[in-house]
């Protein structure tokens, strides 16, 4: 009836228009490249249950519009996000230059503790590259971001991007750096979480693990 998971993380996908945010999400959820993609209007939604370090985590992912006119609407979805994929297009310096703004938004509006991974998308278009790997990784270093170059077309590093972000959050929970109980942490315990230590022996139901969104 419903999927079992240990945690639920709220994720954001942010970045300038045309960077390929929706395609990344589509690739992650459907394992397919989204042909003829339109501009996202407002915010779209997707979710998937993944396995990270022995835990099942449901990722509730909000894919935001990159266009400036939607900025105020998309910002209203930031609150309570645990992780974010900050996406730019390696063939467009413009999208790279806007990163600082997106980063500020995320850290101020979501949570200072938000775990962000920088994704240089369209890795497959290396010939038209305008932003080098080195340059971007330096930016990531300076801003304490994880960094990957991805391709929504081939699927390269897409899964890794989401998983890496989730893994980091799990580590922070384990180390006590993040408290899932705190309001607005963007983390919820799932129905299979460890909190139910007092439950009698062997009571977990085995339900199929699949996304039913």
């Amino acid at each position: 009836m419903s999927e079992t998971y240990d945690f639920l993380f709220k994720f954001l996908v942010i970045g300038s228009a045309g960077a390929g945010k929706s395609c990344l999400l589509h690739q992650f959820i459907e394992n397919k490249f989204k042909q003829d993609s339109n501009h996202t209007i407002g915010v779209e939604f997707g979710s998937r249950v993944v396995n990270v370090g022995g835990k099942t985590v449901k990722l509730q992912i909000w894919d935001t519009a990159g266009q400036e006119r939607f900025r105020s609407v998309t910002r209203s979805y930031y609150r309570g996000a645990a992780g974010a994929l900050l996406v730019y297009d390696i063939t467009s310096r413009e999208t790279y230059n806007a990163l600082t703004n997106w980063l500020t938004d995320a850290r101020t509006l979501a949570s200072p503790n938000i775990v962000i991974i920088l994704c240089g998308n369209k890795k497959d278009l290396d010939a038209e590259r305008e932003v080098t790997f080195l340059e971007a990784s330096r930016f990531a270093q300076e801003n304490e971001l994880m960094f990957l170059e991805t391709s929504a077309l081939t699927g390269e590093n897409v899964e890794e991007g989401f998983l890496k972000c989730a893994r980091t959050i799990l580590n922070k929970i384990d180390s006590g750096e993040l408290d899932p109980e705190r309001m607005g942490s963007g983390i919820q315990y799932g129905d299979a979480s460890l909190r139910q230590l007092r439950q009698p022996r062997g009571t977990t139901t085995q339900n199929k693990q699949q996304c039913n969104c």
Binding site: M1, G42, F45, V73, S76, D191, Q199, T205
Partner: protein
Amino acid sequence: MMERAMEQLNVQLSRLTRSLRRARTVELPEDNETAVYTLMPMVMADQHRSVSELLLNSKFDVNYAFGRVKRSLLHIAANCGSVECLVLLLKRGANPNYQDISGCTPLHLAARNGQKKCMGKLLEYNADVNICNNEGLTAIHWLAVNGRTELLHDLVQHVSNVDVEDAMGQTALHVACQNGHKTTVLCLLDSGADINRPNVSGATPLYFACSHGQRDTAQILLSRGAKYLADKNGITPLDLCVQGGYGETCEILIQHHARLFQMLIQMTQNEDVKENMLRQVLEHVSQQSDSHYQKVLTSLAEVATTNGHKLLSLSSSYEAQMKSLLRIVRIFCHVFRLGPSSPNNGNDMGYNGNKTPRSQVFKPLELLWHSLDEWLMLISTELERSTKNPSLSSSSSEIASLLLKQRESDPSRTTLSLLEGEAYVDGEDVISMTANRLSAVIQAFYMSCSCQMPQGMTSPRFIEFVCKHDEVLKCFVTRNPKIIFNHFHFLLECPELMSRFMHIIKNQPFKDRCEWFYEHLLAGQPDSDMVHRPVNESDILLIHRDSIFRSSCEMVSKSTNEKLKQGIAVRFHGEEGMGQGVVREWFDILSNEIINPDYALFTQSADGTTFQPNSNSSVNPDHLNYFQFAGQILGLALYHRQLVNIYFTRSFYKHILGIPVNYQDVSSIDPEYAKNLQWILDNDISDLGLELTFSVETDVFGAMEEVPLKPGGSSILVTQDNKAEYVQLVTELRMTRAIQPQINAFLQGFHTFIPPSLIQLFDEYELELLLSGMPEMDVEDWCRNTEYTSGYDTEDPVIQWFWKVVRSLTQEERVLLLQFVTGSSRVPHGGFAFLMGGSGLQKFTIAAVPYTSNLLPTSSTCINMLKLPEYPTQEILRDRLLVALHCGSYGYTMA
């Protein structure tokens, strides 16, 4: 020889005596079948002496099986608890394990009927407790079904397997759990029954307990470590509890498996779950303690917010997400309104005790309201942009093609304009794509705001919200008026907001407004499409035909409004009949009585067919009570969609609707005076020396009295500048002030069934249709009684077309046409020949008007004249006529 004969005779004689003394045979018949029926009643009554005596010298087979189900006498004894007979039969070698046609042994029957002693004896004689009947049931199943714990206790000692399954794989524990026999369950568990045993469909004892809401049994099972297992179809014990609305059992489940709490909350998103049952369960859980209350509501608020955000994602299913969001918020509001369980803060809306404010639970929802706000602001910006660039937004396809052309011709320059243009193009799209979704969230927002307010009050926050986004909301409903009916229910509850949208609502088809009207009028009534339903004898309105008005008044005042809303049952004194037909008849003749001149409540208007309150009704001392009653009857009729046989004046319908009257309405009571008022308005009165002041002289019981129209009116002169005000005031005096108490009393009655906010969805013409129904229209009669002027005659092709078109119109459209031309939707009694005009009989008239392109038909209602342009074809005539009917049948303009 003699002696033997004597002896035989003696034996026979003593037998006869014995038989006679005992009132039964003393000798068993030889054949088993007859013998067994002789014995059976004795066994049933446990007459063991007789049985023993009869059996003594007979060759009767004690195991003889008889009857349809092939039972032996031992079965009968066990079944009836005839313990002495049972022992007797056993002693005589009856087989304790003999099975009847359904496989039941005597032990089964004894167990089923709780025959403790019989069971004991059967066991003594080595009855086998493990025998199954044809359905696989054993004695312990029977004991468990009926909760005979004590007997079970004795029996289980002998049972080799307490988990013996019937044909459905059910054990004794299953059936005990299903029936909630606590001690039986404990006994079985103590005897080693498998607590998690699934039956053939995978249902465990806990599953059975939950399926019937056996709270205590579930508690026992869980505390003994029962696993929480779904059946083979994936249906869980929690699902079952929610299905049945078993809050207490749910609570027990959650106590033992905390994770089920989230599952329960998540179920609000599942449209297959019955909302009222789930709500019942959540209510119960929330009532456990303050912290439960907080937790339920906060979790619901979180789920609602996620759902709301999903709804605002354009790729989600609007229908499903909208329903889901509204369902969750509905449940949320309901639970919130209940308040926490602790009694000391029952009437405190703000704080619970000393800890967290109750409003805390709304916090997760704030995220959603914030997003809603941002969305509406975004749309407002888009709207502004498109109004600044009307050329761009007027037709998006045009721009797109234009841009494409530009792009081909001048690829270097257009990139910028293309980007801008695109924004506008899908700016239009954004509104059409999001309007429905945003409106549904607005509906949810209203619900959430309202549940924090006392009933019947609109939250200031929501009013502020509507004012802030006024423009966007109006844009939504103008583009898609269905939104009003689907999501803007708040309008019906907030008159202050309704007025903003009234003009848009009034433009919606009558049918849609009717549906909305009844949907809200009847909301909360269980089965709304029945006027008549089975009722208590005491709720029947018993009416005397010879005093219909008085007895109806009496009966209605005795009943309660709530009962009358649920349904009306009428019976005429001394008659059998009841049902829809009688109710209809009652409304029909009662409405005729209401306007009976003997009561002096209503007077006929100038045209003789419509009525309005009689300003002199006070000759009847009880008149105001009667007006209230009349209002009640009209309201009740409307409530139950019954038609009445009264037509009121236009001005009285306006009074019901709370619409101000105008001078033209005066014509219904005083057509000459109305003409004079018209004349004043039409002509410049500056130099006429009328010397009129803002006062009139009226006749009050024979004495002329000066009545000022406004304070100090007798010294204010009527001038060209203020004549409109004069006409309005004098109209109100004639039409309203004279009958104000009567109107008020009538409305007081009417509003007990029909809230003013709902009735204002209609105008006076529609109200007439609602109350009195669509008139029958005989087109042939109409045609026969029509006159033609200014060039038309019956043979004229335009006239021929006209009647062809009229015949093709729907009933509703014909009514509109009649209204358009005569100002009334009614055909007078006797047909069109009796159509009245401003001064006497005035037939329906069609006048020719020279045709110019796009010219619409017009009318002069006071002379029942349709001014029909000389259209070149029938199609154009039809088209123009329909346009005029649908847009122009209400409201007057001076032609």
